[in-house]
Amino acid sequence: MAEIRVQHLRKAFGDFVAVQDSNFVVEDGEFFVMLGPSGCGKTTTLRMIAGLELPTGGQILLGGDDVTMLRARERDIAFVFQLFALYPHMNVRKNIGFPLLAQGMPSAEIRTRVEETAKLLRIDHLLNKSVSGLAGGDRQRVALGRAIVRRPKCFLMDEPLGTLDTEFRDLMVHELRELHNRIHATTVYVTHDQMEAMSMADKIAVMNHGVIEQFGSPREIYDRPATMFVADFIGSPPMNFLGFGGGVAKGAKEIVVQGAKVAVPEVREDIAPSEMALGIRPEHIRFDDSSKLRGAIYGAEYLGTTQIVAVETADGIIKARVPAEIRLSTGDHVGLTLSSARLSLFEKGSGRAVRTAIHDVASERRAQHG
């Protein structure tokens, strides 16, 4: 196993820049997820790490060695494809043993290694079956088997659960994480599904338009989104934005939104007057008639323990996650109270998050860990 270090990685296809100046480090044994909408460059980045595409610029270090321009077969990595790429003309045993055959391993050893791997993935009863008859989950396990049988430096997975049914997907998310906990293989996992990313990742990189918008733990990304894109992409429903004008000064503890004063985490930098946005997670909104921030109920989605209530405010609809017991009817006017300590501020122009007290906790934590 090895650490993966990506430095100033760039890839252009003609005029189209798929990846621009990516930098990140996947530590040894870490489960790293690249998350983003389709076309954001996550798969291209993964394919460059694999050696299936050559970068236009930058460096990729695998376990300290520069592999930027090496061929795929010289990198000692394993790749799990979205469509699994199981060879239809081979049975399960041959599929899993295929990478070992390339190394010229004696057949007896291949046999034991394949059987060990199959046992680990609980597919040992399928070894002599044809791959074409397998169910989605089992195909996925065979694809994983072909990856782990070789004990490579790292695993790269390109939306491996994308084609599975929802029930299988939940099961495989659990299995993948469990497998990772057992073998501690450095893993780079690409997905557009935030649930997969949040539930499996040690670290997430959120990408958009070829740029890494934020790199951090699932908690950091959810609680302290670095940009409005991240705030909007992560969370279901996503973070709400309420616009407000004027800048904020260092040390400010409250802002004025729609004529109402809202307490916010202490601001740590001066922002010149410009269009700004207040970011609020739906679960950080409570209904409180005494609040000056007001809106009218627009609709509600009942989810059992909670409900998502859409509230029409002067600045558009925002969504609140409130207990399911609260009875509301469309058109009711309500006051909104926001959990001040959990709010984010953004500059609308650049989409960048303003440094506030919520980031102090992050730097303290980082300091403790570092």
Binding site: A50, G51, L52, R71, A72, R73, R75, I77, A78, F79, F81, Q82, L83, A85, Y87, P88, H89, F98, P99, A102, Q103, R146, R150
Partner: protein, 316 residues
Amino acid sequence: MSLTTAHSVVAPSANSKRIAGTIIVLYALISIVPLLWIFATSFKTPPDSIAYPPKILFQPSLEGYCNLFTTRTRQTPEYINSLGPATGFCDETTRKRNMVIAGPSNFLPRFVNSLIIAFGSTFCAVFLGTLSAYGFSRFKVPLADDLLFFILSTRFMPPIAVAIPIYLMYRELGLSDTALGMILLYTAVNVSLAVWLLKGFIDEIPREYEEAAMIDGYTRLQAFWRTVLPQATTGIAATAIFCLIFAWNEYAFAALLTSGTAQTAPPFIPTIIGEGGQDWPAVAAGTTIFLVPILVFTILLRKQLLRGITFGAVRK
């Protein structure tokens, strides 16, 4: 509206199946009657073969096959009687017609020529076709579309239109009447078909297979050999049959460019007519034997052929 009509694919009714079956059987009969007639004629005696009204029922004879494989000379009865006892069926039949066997005919070597040239050119066309189709399918080939169009354009006119230039070139190059010359010619004609057909097949094989193999430690060539080729067998088989049928049946170039050592069966078979009257049974026997290899090849690969012809129509 009932629910069943909502489906675009409706199971055929018993009636429509019966009608379709009848049409297919009728068509098959119409197509197969000439072949059956040739087959029957090959087992007739020369007088039976030209009898009028035509004989449907007749005493089968191998005379046609004897005549196909031998050359005979007419002799006086005295000379024939002076010979020793007949050595076999063919010898005996020939003597009854006041002839003696002079030696083997050229049919067998011409037939072997056909085998060598047809299979040789098919192999070359499919080999080159597979490699170029893979290249066009997987790599960024500069001007790929124009190149593919150019390759296809070689089929825009009937190949025989360039017969004269090719005849002259072959004479200069010493390729006239050589098996190599014919293999090159048929390969050139077939390779465009092979590239286009195979490109379609290879395009449908996801490139993830090779990428997976290359990541797993194989070179591109090994990956091609171990993952693409096994999955392209259907396409390769279908392409091979098309190429083989063309090369096997080709008459015009063969008649023009081969006359002796490299002559193939198609131009040879009609020449049998001239040897000692109109020997229809011998011609029919030659045609019957000529049909065997293509029949065997097609039967062996019939599954692939069927899937090959309908490729693209049904996707998993």
